[in-house]
């Protein structure tokens, strides 16, 4: 298991390098000019100097190498500095945003808590709802609960978040006026009342995200339970005279959870991607919204870093899912 994990970790390095190259080259083609905002009265040679100051004078491969060094060496060092008060990255060039002229990672660090709050809560809520639904629908297959559950998950699967989000805004904040339609990220939780306000503004984005995730996971849970309920060991357990509760909730559920857990792990990065749309609908200024504004503003270092963070998340959670699968199911260890 350990060798497998190490091998997968080593394989992740070329994958990440390839992805960073793709992202870098794609943005290399970008037609946008960071000097577009500079007034026309500035003479061309000054503009050329400014371009060089942004590091645009070098050939492509040198800039790629510099970006790699900045991203994989300087930024982690800086993180360590911040955590332990050391000064490893003192004076090193960091990845600088063209929009704000401040380090990209600082802005990302400001934005990540908002995204994590909304997405994280939505994911937890969704998993908590999805698993019982999946279990019960499979246990009473073709009952009215199953029919209704299948229909609802199908709807949740098909309604895109940019419609369900807008729909809940129309219903709950325009017509009923229960919740605010815009997520206020400057809001601080200090006492009970402000906590209630925070809860209220989180309800709708969480609801929209959770609907999507719940429908995916409960479909998987149902299918996986159905697979296991027909197995011989279930009949054996029943024949031994175990209670139905023990058979379903201990034997079948534990075995059915194996593929579901990997699906849950695999879904986490795609949720960050899906949250781009939800953040846009509810005006949450998380990393998704940061990406959109950066693309519009032609802020290439920011787009590179954010896209690469998404890629790292995907590779990381793929790895976690693979390793978890091996740990949970001894039959599929790869050694």
């Amino acid at each position: 298991m350990l060798t497998f994990t190490i091998r997968r970790l080593l394989l992740a390095i070329p994958t990440l390098l390839f992805i960073s190259l793709v992202i870098f080259l794609l943005l290399e083609l970008a037609p946008g000019d960071p000097m577009a905002q500079v007034p026309l009265t500035v003479p061309p040679e000054v503009k050329e100097k400014m371009r060089e100051a942004l590091g645009l004078g070098d050939p492509v491969y040198i800039r790629f190498w510099k970006w790699l060094v900045q991203f994989f060496w300087v930024e982690p060092m800086h993180l360590i500095d911040n955590l332990f008060g050391t000064s490893l990255a003192e004076g090193q060039q960091r990845v600088i945003s063209w929009q704000t002229r401040s380090p990209v990672m600082d802005i990302v660090a400001q934005r990540i808590p908002q995204t994590l709050w909304v997405v994280g809560v939505a994911y937890v809520v969704a998993v908590i709802i999805a698993i019982p639904i999946g279990v019960y629908s499979a246990y009473r297959q073709y009952s009215w609960f199953d029919q209704a559950g299948t229909f609802v998950t199908m709807v949740g699967f098909s309604v895109p978040p940019f419609f369900s989000g807008v729909l809940v805004i129309v219903i709950f904040s325009v017509h009923l006026g229960w919740f605010p339609s815009i997520y206020d990220t400057t809001h601080k939780v200090t006492d009970w009342d402000s906590f209630v306000v925070q809860l209220k503004q989180m309800v709708m984005p969480v609801m929209v995200l959770a609907l999507q995730i719940t429908s995916q996971i409960s479909r998987f849970m149902r299918a996986s339970m159905l697979d296991n309920l027909g197995q011989d060991y279930v009949r054996t357990a029943r024949a031994k005279g175990m209670t139905e509760k023990a058979v379903v909730l201990i034997h079948v559920l534990r075995n059915s959870m194996i593929p579901v857990i990997t699906v849950i792990a695999l879904g986490i990065p795609s949720i960050f991607g899906g949250a781009i749309i939800t953040e846009q609908v509810f005006k949450v200024n998380g990393i998704g919204q940061l990406l959109i504004t950066a693309i519009y503003a032609n802020d290439i270092p920011m787009v590179q870093t954010l896209t690469f963070i998404f890629a790292v998340l995907i590779v990381l959670f793929n790895l976690i899912a693979d390793v978890l699968y091996g740990i949970l199911d001894p039959r599929i260890r790869y050694d």
Partner: protein, 322 residues
């Protein structure tokens, strides 16, 4: 989609093959039946799938034939009739420039469904070619599957957004603003959604390669090309059909998402996503404008998903006939 002329491949239906001697033993001889009739029978028994199929066909018909009946030009601006609610002259109301919403919905549906179908066709084509090559030729298996894994690890939505912004002006200049964006969006969606199909097809081809009829075909000297087109492809048709159906749904959603984020078609060129995006600014005053395109997207995708569900059941010989 289904091809009634194709002779039944005995190997494609192991469960059915086992069931034939039983009916023979009963003494009643039934004329050999095309397997697609069995598929159709099973598909019919899935209520959701039938409703979905009927709805989808109606939707396509409405969107493509509707403009011949509802002849108002979707780009005609009648500023005196702006911001109307649903009435007899404009069943879905008008927008802030007085353009008829029903006509715009129909025009938008044409684009959205066309994008869905073409992007699906492209992604199925790429997925099938890569899957068959990887499954059939052992030497290509490793590299092609690593390639697929790499694609699966790409953060697709951010890259799509970036790519649209990069190539939009270039293609618009070459093919006109609408044609350019259409080509761009279709090819981007196709290029970023073939991986699941490739994986499924490869798995099925790998399993098929070990079957006796493939060995038999090879022993009479069938060249690789004919092996693939004649023996392998017809037998991996069912997973391809299922992922094709589901591919339409993903393509429609992706196109709408891009339009919704403002990275899709130009503003005066309606698609369902674009209509939704335009309506969001005024949703406090005119919520129905958000509802129409959103409902159209959701119901189309829902019906397509149900068709896919029904097809999957119908094409799975283990479920069929139960």
């Amino acid at each position: 989609m289904t091809d009634p002329e194709r002779p039944t491949e005995p190997a494609s239906n192991p469960a059915g093959a086992g069931a034939v001697p039983a009916t023979d033993a009963a003494g009643s001889y039934r004329a050999p039946r095309n397997q697609w009739w069995d598929v159709w029978d099973q598909f019919k028994s899935h209520k959701g799938a039938v409703i979905g199929a009927v709805f989808f066909i109606l939707m396509v018909a409405a969107v493509y034939l509707g403009p011949y009946i509802w002849t108002i030009d979707p780009t005609y601006i009648d500023i005196r009739a702006k911001n109307q609610g649903p009435n007899l002259l404009h069943p879905m109301g008008t927008d802030q420039l007085g353009r008829d919403t029903l006509a715009r919905m129909l025009a938008g549906g044409q684009v959205s469904i066309a994008v869905g179908l073409t992007a699906m066709a492209l992604s199925i084509l790429i997925g099938t070619v890569i899957g068959v090559l990887a499954g059939y030729f052992r030497r290509l298996d490793g590299p092609l599957m690593r390639f697929t894994d790499l694609f699966l690890a790409l953060p697709l939505l951010p890259l799509l957004l970036v790519a649209v912004l990069l190539f939009r002006d270039m293609l618009s200049a070459a093919f006109g603003p609408e044609g350019g964006v259409f080509i761009l969006i279709v090819s981007l969606i196709g290029i970023t959604s073939w991986m699941q199909t490739a994986r499924i097809v490869r798995g099925d081809v790998l399993a098929l390669k070990e079957r006796e009829f493939v060995l038999a075909a090879r022993s009479i000297g069938t060249p690789s090309q004919r092996m693939v087109t004649r023996h392998i492809l017809p037998n991996v048709l069912s997973p391809i059909m299922v992922s094709a159906t589901l591919g339409i749904a993903t393509a429609i959603i992706t196109e709408s998402a891009l339009s919704f984020l403002g990275f899709g078609f130009p503003p005066d060129f309606p698609t369902w996503g674009r209509l939704l995006f335009d309506a969001v600014d005024r949703m406090q005053l005119y919520p129905e404008r958000v509802i129409w395109p959103g409902l159209a997207i959701s119901l189309t995708v829902l019906s397509v998903n149900y068709i896919g569900d029904g097809l999957r059941d119908a094409l799975d010989p283990r479920i069929r006939g139960r």
